[in-house]
Symmetry: C2
DNA sequence: CCCCGAGTGTAGACACCGTCTACCTACTTT
DNA sequence: AAAGTAGGTAGACGGTGTCTACACTCGGGG
């Protein structure tokens, strides 16, 4: 394994193990057993290394999408929505890093390719579902990609809000599953 | 105006003017014309100062909710949803700070009070709408606060995803308005 | 009147961070 | 054998949050 790959792996392990605050260049170097300046031999800076880690996160998310069980388009789409929220809840640090513009480089080609692949896969699930369902809850003829963007946002915000802290302070703290059920009910009936 | 209030104002101005990266204790002190250690006379640390700024942000958001035009519950709820996304798009730095757990103290009493007030106001709008509408798209009897959490998450994710970068890279970049229209269509028909 | 304690600001130090640069070592290629 | 390159090391610089010692300005009790 190349030194570059080893650094990415070490950073990812450190991320899931100690949170996004711990993923510092010097911390990664120490965890990898090299001197503090060594990572800069393989990455132009912190943003490039963390972008590679975030790309790994999107790839993992994409793999989850590829492992959906067989079934009707509706069942597959529902499973994908659950998988997205589940991914965020079970990998909070990775999920946070993937959308932290200040830590990664949003223009990095590999990163936009990986995130676009996730979106395209998700949009295709939406398209297949809408092509089959006849009792269309949404305005007919709406671009499936637009529906996918809206639904992705709904899932994303749900996960983000839940990670942020009980969705709304102490007064009312629904589980992500119950809120997700409402969201899916709204979109898919 | 107390020195504490002046620091909060200075920090808020610096935030909207130069982004969340510029809101550093030393930067705020310099902008306020005091020495780098002065802010610690009034705040226990950076998190407490930034929590006060975020509280200000939630208060501004609440004021927007109080300025909704009169109309049917449905119209008021729709306007509130637009206002939320509009707030995020027009105040991206403040919006980001309000949900950055690493910069603020999520347990800070004033902050949870302000964010809970926003949620409660929004949940009340949802409750009034659902009490009136008879063609219920969602499962009847669902707790309005649960619906509010789901819908808030949808709005929040939409704003977050759009701020993150075109919602999905270069291949497909809908405007927040068009995606919001789909979201409202899903929830409110 | 003096003094002194509380509130506020200053300046320096410390550890940590990202980044840059100079140097060094081992291996590959010609 | 010579040369070049990939990779690692060590030190420096400026920036950051935080702590601590010190100074200055008040208003009220001896």
């Amino acid at each position: 394994m190349s030194a570059r790959q080893r650094l990415i792996r070490t950073a990812a392990d450190l991320l899931v193990g100690s949170g996004v605050e711990a993923v510092t260049l010097r911390g990664i170097a120490k965890a990898a057993g090299v001197s503090h300046g060594a990572p800069l031999r393989h990455f132009s800076g912190r943003a490039e290394l963390l972008s590679a880690v975030a790309t790994l996160g999107f790839t993992q998310l994409l793999q989850r999408g590829a492992q959906l069980p067989d079934g009707t388009p509706r069942e597959r789409l529902t499973a994908a929505c659950h998988a997205y929220v589940d991914f965020a809840v079970t990998n909070p640090a990775m999920f946070e890093l993937m959308f932290r513009r200040d830590l990664i480089d949003p223009e990095e080609p590999g990163l936009v390719a990986a995130s676009s692949a996730v979106f395209d896969t998700f949009a295709e699930l939406v398209r297949l579902d809408r092509a089959e369902a006849d009792d269309d809850r949404l305005r007919p003829g709406t671009d499936p990609r637009l529906v996918a963007a809206s639904l992705w946002g709904a899932l994303h915000g749900l996960a983000q809000l839940w990670l942020w802290g009980g969705l709304a302070g102490a007064s009312f703290a629904p589980s992500p599953e119950s809120a997700l059920a409402v969201t899916l009910d709204a979109y898919l009936g």
